[in-house]
């Protein structure tokens, strides 16, 4: 299973993602944003970081990179595309996922461990988790306040596209466990076809107990058929 990790200027979680994929036994390769083909990878990951410095808006400039068109086609054909943090922001800017990101309602960058609840596992990325499971992963972002309009939100929830929500240690859904003001505590969503997923927390930073959590391992293992 060869997994492509896309590197934009300013990406800074590329090596971390590479390391995590290796650790769980996958075969990662880097894809350069100026490349024009996906060299037959089976899945694409847009990793975290600050592509183009997050200048103007997170993900706004990266979206125009040459490789993005290929990723768009790849996703349209059902290919698996995962966006983590900045990658999620790019997927939103690309329109592969609904909604937009706003600056955290704390007005600050936030780095800390959070708890997540698996709301739906009906997507290849989460099939190794059960619904209701509580995961622990770090977040590290300044623009992570997920936003969709009220009417979109209803649709999103009805179609069960909300897959991860910020919760308390025991699964409590409460605004006090919402680190950034995301609507409905949303931490991760999928597209209607469920082959594209974006999440703000960093699963690649949660694959070793030594670093605080290994909740993220199964997300990457889901790439294995």
């Amino acid at each position: 299973m060869r997994i492509g990790i896309v590197v934009f200027p300013g990406t800074n979680c590329d090596y971390d993602t590479f390391w995590a994929l290796k650790l769980v036994g996958l075969d990662p390769v880097f894809l350069w944003h100026k490349d024009t083909n996906l060299i037959n990878v089976s899945a694409v990951i847009l990793p975290g970081g600050f592509s183009y410095g997050d200048y103007l808006r997170a993900g706004a400039i990266a979206r125009f990179s040459p490789l993005i068109d290929k990723i768009f086609d790849f996703a349209e054909k059902g290919g698996l595309v995962l966006g983590i943090c900045n990658g999620f922001q790019i997927l939103l800017e690309m329109g592969l996922l609904p909604g937009a990101m706003l600056p955290n309602n704390t007005n600050t960058f936030i780095c800390k461990q959070v708890y997540l609840k698996v709301e739906n596992n009906d997507t290849p990325f989460l099939r190794k988790y059960s619904i209701g499971e509580i995961l622990k992963m770090p977040i590290a972002h300044k623009e992570g306040r997920y936003y969709v309009s009220d009417s979109e939100l209803v649709k999103l929830e009805n179609k069960k596209q909300v897959v991860l929500r910020y919760v308390g240690p025991n699964g409590e859904i409460d605004s006090k466990f919402n680190p950034n003001g995301s609507v409905n505590n949303i931490a991760g969503v999928v597209n209607e076809k469920r082959n594209v997923m974006g999440l703000m927390p960093h699963p690649e930073r949660a694959v070793e107990k030594l670093l605080g959590s290994d909740s993220g391992i199964r997300l990457f293992l889901s790439f294995l058929n």
């Binding site: 390391w19 970081g49 600050f50 410095g53 997050d54 600050t108 960058f109 936030i110 770090p138 670093l211």
Partner: protein, 711 residues
């Protein structure tokens, strides 16, 4: 003050050396490079005394950063740098460019930056200006560090009146070179090798920034606008990747960052190190603004620029790397044999100066000093009410630190085993090995104000204990020395004493100083800052299994104090400052021989893994350390202290050489034997328990209130 801030004797010295009158551009060049900031003219003589060598030191002071060997072929590169003056004028950009600057020092050695630590000092936060400075600085560090993907893993924060107009922002960066990786020096050598300037375009940023850092801050800061530089972390990140990639190829001879005094300093220093000269064509320097003069191009401090010395045959390949990363790279000149700095502009030779004049020939100053009177400790009136208030303050402090480090991405690069706020030092594992490193940064201006030498000894020994407490073996120091105006005799006394305190501690403990920074002119007269040496220290855990964390682990385990309760003293403590508003007396006495034995003991016993948790005693005393261990472990304690009159001393007094450790009952005998073997002493304080936080007969505090941080 004469030409651009040079003293008359310096001006005459230049004329004598050169045997002619320098032209205007040359004067300008000389004055920036002879500024305190670049030439260390008040400090050089004293810094020479430091212990800078050890078996594991590959590069001591003199390069852009120090280098030590970690074992298994890995090398660690690190340095601390201050950005006090820029941060006072524009806190956000000042601190952001401070981060960028120190990161490029590490990068210049060919190392990948893997960690940052920030040591911060501000005035009290009940004042709007001080809050503005504090928030600006923290968000500037967050802005730059997060964007370049280098985790901020530790630091310290202290609020004190003396820093109101002069905040201190010292940032330490640590980089790593893996086995087989090349260490670069900032060297221009080999006639005909090309000087490649890469990164941002040159603008009028920070003209005379180096001189600015070497002056007192004027009242009217608006006039100092040209000294403000803006950081571009995105370009900073590209520079990191491109320089590392270029450095992995053949053909790069030397790498040098552009910092204070821009091209002048970068070029003359690398020529000096390489025993060569340079000729540069200033028209080739990519410029951001129109009509820049030769002087401006030479001394501009535009950020995000580096210089590579490259063999001519390899130049295209190296340039292509920068092109790949969308960075400009221009050959601006070449290395020559004659040890001169020559610059051409519009076909005219504008600078022709000996390298030696620019680098080694600046005058040294050894101004007079005057011993400062000690401040005797007054007699305190007992006040029961103060205790509860102080505990609340200690809990509040935990929250302030959290407010800071949560704004820093401390987990990127996935190595952070012990994150900020979780221990005496940060611990980072090294991928593909069993090893980990411990990093800490510490200073105590209050102690140094009371007794500069003893204060500095406290800073070094505390940093050492911080490394020991997480299971590390201390290896080396980088020091950031922050002082007032060196021409004030009392300040120069403080400086000499502090250097001597660092020196003696570092020698006795055998922890060499491999890099550092000096910042003078932080306030003057009554407004001057406390002498504030900051000690950055790195240590190694040869095996990550040696890791010790400070959270209490299990009920019924025993809590020992390594050291003696008698050493606790309330003089100079955080407690009397907070509760009585008094800064007086002597700082804790540092017994270096004890510290040395303690170091050997901890270095030995960590391998047996019987120390289950450890934390040293520093600000806030025994009570604070216990409180933190309870907070982190979510466990109560049952401790009994002697019943004495001066119990405030026991609870809140501070002392050096003291470490609290947790061991299990079954290892008790062994532990005690080992303690005796090392000629140390330990005092059994009590036990870890499920219930309250109890220090009999003085305190019985609900654990819940601690865990919930008084919310």
């Amino acid at each position: 003050m004469g030409i651009y801030g040079l003293k008359d004797e310096e001006i005459n010295h230049v004329r004598r050396l050169l045997e002619r009158e320098p032209n205007d551009v040359e004067w300008s060049v000389i004055s920036v490079i002879w500024s305190e900031h670049c030439s260390y003219k008040h400090s050089r003589k004293y810094l020479k005394n430091f212990l800078t060598k050890a078996k594991w030191v590959e590069q001591g002071p003199g390069e852009n950063a120090g280098v030590i060997e970690l074992g298994n072929g890995y090398k660690l590169v690190f340095k601390v740098e201050s950005h006090n003056h820029p941060s006072a004028v524009e806190p956000f950009q000042g601190s952001a460019t401070g981060v960028g600057g120190i990161v490029r020092d590490i990068l210049a050695l060919g190392a990948r930056p893997i960690a940052l630590l920030d040591s911060l000092r501000f005035g009290p936060q009940d004042n709007l200006k001080n809050r503005y400075l504090f928030n600006g600085v923290v968000s500037g560090i967050s802005f730059y560090g997060n964007c370049i993907g280098v985790p901020v893993v530790g630091g310290e924060i202290i609020f004190e009146d003396c820093y109101s107009s002069n905040p201190l922002v010292n940032v330490m960066c640590v980089g790593i070179v893996p086995p087989g990786g090349k260490i670069y020096k900032g060297r221009a050598e080999g006639k005909g090798n090309l000087i490649l300037l890469v990164g941002a375009r040159t603008g009028r940023d920070g003209i005379h920034g180096a001189s600015f850092a070497s002056e007192k801050l004027e009242e009217d800061i608006h006039s100092q606008r040209p000294s403000v530089q803006v950081g571009d972390p995105f370009m900073g990140k590209l520079l990191i990747e491109a320089c590392l990639e270029a450095g992995s190829l053949e053909g790069v001879i030397g790498i040098q960052d552009l910092g204070a005094a821009g091209l002048v300093s970068a070029l003359s220093e690398s020529a000096s190190r390489g025993g060569s000269g340079v000729v540069v064509y200033l028209d080739k320097v990519p410029q951001r603004e129109e009509n820049m003069t030769s002087e401006e191009i030479l001394i501009s401090e535009s950020q995000e620029r580096m210089i590579l010395i490259v063999e001519p045959e390899k130049i295209d390949r190296i340039k292509n790397v920068f092109k790949k990363w969308d960075l400009e790279a221009e050959v601006i000149g070449e290395v020559i044999d004659e040890e001169k700095f020559i610059a051409y502009f519009k076909g005219e030779k504008v600078v022709d100066l000996p390298i030696k004049l620019l680098t080694k020939d600046s005058l040294e100053f050894d101004p007079p000093f005057k011993i400062r009177e000690r401040i005797p400790m007054p007699i305190l009136s007992k006040n029961e009410e103060k205790i509860e208030g102080f505990i609340k303050k200690l809990i509040e402090d935990i929250k302030i630190k959290e407010y800071i480090y949560q704004q820093y991405d401390y987990s990127v690069q996935t190595n952070t085993v012990l994150p900020p706020g979780r221990g005496d030092s940060a611990v980072l594992r090294i991928k593909d090995t069993k090893m980990a490193i411990a990093l800490t940064i510490d200073g105590n201006g209050r102690y140094c104000f009371l007794d500069p030498k003893m204060g500095a000894m406290n800073a070094v020994s505390e940093a050492c204990r911080n490394i020991l407490c997480v299971g590390g073996r201390p290896l080396a120091i980088t020091d950031g020395l922050n002082f007032g105006d060196p021409d004030e005799p009392e300040v120069f006394y403080q400086f000499r004493e502090v250097v001597s305190g660092i020196n003696i501690s570092s020698r006795v403990l055998e922890i060499p100083v491999v890099s550092g920074n000096v910042s003078f002119y932080n306030g003057q007269g009554d407004n001057r800052i406390f002498p504030t040496p900051i000690i950055g220290m790195v240590g190694i855990l040869e095996n990550i299994d040696y890791l010790i964390t400070p959270d209490f682990k299990e009920e019924e385990n025993l809590i020992y104090l390594l050291g003696d309760l008698d050493w606790l003293s309330i003089e100079g403590s955080e407690y009397i400052k907070y509760s009585y508003n008094i800064i007086a007396g002597n700082p804790p006495y540092v017994n270096l021989l004890w510290e040395k034995r303690l170091k050997s003991f901890m270095e030995d016993i960590r391998k047996e893994k019987i120390i289950l948790s450890a934390h040293d005693i520093s600000d806030g005393g025994l009570l604070n350390s216990l409180l933190e261990m309870s907070f982190w472990g979510e466990k109560g304690i049952d401790i009994t202290l002697p019943e004495v009159e001066d119990y405030e001393r026991l609870l809140f007094g501070e002392g050096s050489g003291l470490i609290i450790v947790e061991i299990s009952e079954k290892n008790k005998e062994y532990f005690v034997k080992k303690v005796e073997e090392y000629k140390l002493k330990a005092f059994l304080l009590g036990k870890v328990v499920r219930g309250n936080f109890k220090i009999k007969p003085y305190i019985d505090y609900p654990l819940k209130k601690i865990i919930e941080r008084g919310d």
